[in-house]
Amino acid sequence: MSFTYILQTLLDGLLMGGIYGLVAIGLTLIFGVMKVINFAHGALMMLGMYATYWAFALLHIDPYVSIVITIPILFLVGVCFQKFLINPIIDAPEHNQLLLTLGVSLFLENIVVFLWSPDYRVVKTPYEFVYFYIGDVSISLLRLLAFCLAMLVAAVVYLVLTKTDLGKAIRASSEEPSGALLVGINVRRIYWTTFGIGAACAGVSGTAVAPFFPVYPTVGGIFVITAFMVVVLGGMGSVIGAFIGGLIVGMADSVGGLFFPGAMKNLLSFVIFILILLFRPTGLFGGSK
């Protein structure tokens, strides 16, 4: 196993990890603020992928450009989801919320099967076979773009959270909802806004991977489990933790692929996940934002 091979593997993992990070950011926001574990997060990402695919197939819009469509659509979906489905049961036991989001996930995945068939769809961009080479190490343009997009969105979310009033309101609502109410923050509004942002993040990750991942109804399933692992690893509620956690899980998957064949390559990530759950459930950057 040559040095280039290992380097290549780590690089692949890093690039993919950025995507995991972006998916996880959405999830961690939602959990951090509302303490809701959104099982439907993968389905939201899938919707983003389909939105990108249809924009591409019907309107011939380049996938990266279509985030201007994906973001508002997914934001809206997130808002509706929170307002009509989650809000009514916000005080119910946690596992009920988990089950609700599971139900939504089942529903979304399968209504897509019904509407658009389970066939794998492909978004074919003209630049899909562009690779950069550093020596013998190749970097796919598409994956690099996806990574950059993920970093960009993550940075934007982070800045919003730390530098804007909205961000402060979000953080206040998550740390101390009653206190936030007292200070005049419309916590209800913050809840659905945050959910919208989380959903939009999922949607953007969908757009980012659509050019090189096949689009099909249950594609979200792979990502949601990974996203949970990332969120737990990074620490529920920490945006930085989610991104870094994503990078770690991405590389663990890649490295795992070196040693374990086929379906087992995620074994390493799962083991890490289980260990974190047991020994450090607050994650690497747990608690804070």
């Binding site: 593997t9 692949d12 993919m16 389970p118 066939d119 076979f129 690779y131 991942f213 064949p261 086929g262």
Partner: protein
């Protein structure tokens, strides 16, 4: 002629005679309608139902529906030509059962078809599904003619009701390896190493295992054998291992969409062997593979079941499919088409829709009129088509052409791939 007429009185036929006569005719009709169903029931003879278990939805729906098209076309041709003559022109009717690509659904599929009175069942495209479905068919004693499924296990269980038309893995894999060796020799090229990427189901697993075993007999060695999960969307890790192996030949086995994905990844990562050779690859022999990926597919070869391009009967089939579905019939559909004819031929000889009789007729099949690149279709004791033969195709000028063995070739092959 002896005078059998009764002596008539002046009143012609007596009432008693009339009643007796009518009664006789009535009894004859009753007996006849039991013993000669088609002659005396009048109107249309009953339809003969043939079950067809395929993945009509789910990730393999594309291939599944192609197989369905092939079968539908065959049924229509047979019916138009008069149906099953020995059964009074009875028409064939196809009963679909969607396996959705899942083995457990094929179980209920077989049971449903059995209840509906299917005389035989065809299917299932996937080895994993077929292995299960044939066992259920064996349990209920329904003849099962495997259209497409390559795993050897299917005909290795001592089943009496399972028949398979397509070449099995133990025919396909060694034949492909031999062909590679042959064409290398003919081109004066040294081929020593093979890197094999395959799906991790019974399909890819059985083929690759056999290639690993057979390669040394021809002085070659499989230096990398990389399985991937057909459901995993990202195959970069696996393809990197293939690239790292740097072998002379890259072989690949998989279904259509994963075959396409893997090939794209290989091209993207600049895997550059002397040739890409599929083994039973669901993508490489399909014109849509070329359509989706364009120029990069040029020179890709596939050792797979095929129709015989030099057979006039096959030519008719090509024309018919093209007219009906607007594309060249993919080999998988050929192997959904031919089994219908095999069953029809067996029905003709069986002169009965009884499953036992049909089963025995199938076992004695010796069909010379067919579209395949082989001798007569004869099933051995395990139910396998003895003379099954694969052919090597190559994408040349954007068209998939049979290039080997030379007796069935329609174009000259190019080896090694020009860089």
């Amino acid at each position: 002629m002896a005078n059998t007429k009764k002596k008539r009185g002046n009143r012609g036929i007596s009432r008693r005679d009339f009643i007796k006569g009518t009664a006789a005719v009535g009894v004859a009709a009753a007996v006849g309608s039991i013993g000669f169903p088609n002659v005396l029931r009048g109107a249309a003879p009953p339809e003969i139902q043939i079950g067809n278990i395929l993945p009509l939805s789910g990730p393999l729906a594309y291939l599944g529906n192609q197989l369905k098209n092939g079968a539908v076309m065959a049924v229509n041709e047979i019916n138009k030509a008069g149906g099953i003559r020995s059964l009074g022109g009875a028409k064939l009717k196809l009963l679909d059962a969607d396996s959705e690509g899942k083995a457990d659904l094929s179980i209920s599929g077989v049971e449903r078809l059995d209840r509906a009175g299917a005389v035989a069942i065809m299917g299932c495209l996937q080895s994993a599904v077929t292995i299960v479905a044939t066992q259920v068919a064996e349990k209920y004693r329904v003849p099962f003619v495997v259209s497409v499924a390559v795993a050897d296990k299917i005909t290795e269980r001592g089943f009496k009701y399972t028949f398979r038309l397509q070449p099995r893995a133990a025919q396909m894999a060694p034949q492909t390896v031999k062909f590679i060796s042959d064409i290398a020799r003919q081109a004066g090229e040294k081929v020593k190493t093979i890197a094999y990427i395959h799906d991790n189901t019974a399909f890819g697993g059985s083929l690759s295992g056999l290639v690993v075993e057979t390669a040394p007999k021809y002085g070659m060695e499989v230096v990398a054998r990389v399985p991937y999960s057909p459901r995993s969307a990202d195959v970069t890790t696996e393809v990197r291992k293939i690239k790292a192996a740097g072998a002379d030949i890259v072989m690949a086995s998989g279904y259509f969409s994963d075959g396409v994905r893997v090939f794209r990844a290989m091209k993207g990562l600049r895997v550059r062997p002397k040739a890409f050779v599929g083994c039973g690859n669901g993508a490489y022999s399909d014109q849509n593979f070329v359509k989706e990926l364009g120029d990069m597919t040029e020179y890709v070869m596939d050792g797979n079941y095929q129709a015989n391009p030099n057979s006039p009967l096959a030519q008719k089939m090509f024309d018919h499919y093209q007219a009906l579905y607007g594309q060249k019939i993919p080999p998988s559909a050929v192997f959904a088409y031919e089994p219908v004819y095999v069953i029809a031929d067996a029905l003709e000889r069986a002169k009965s829709t009884d499953r036992e009789v049909l089963r025995n007729a199938l076992a004695r099949t010796n069909l010379k009129k067919h579209v395949l690149p082989q001798g007569p279709i004869v099933f051995d004791a395990t139910g396998q088509n003895k003379n099954a033969q694969i052919a090597l195709t190559q994408v040349l000028g954007g068209k998939i052409r049979v290039v080997w063995p030379e007796q069935y070739a329609e174009a000259k092959l190019v080896f090694p791939m020009p860089s």
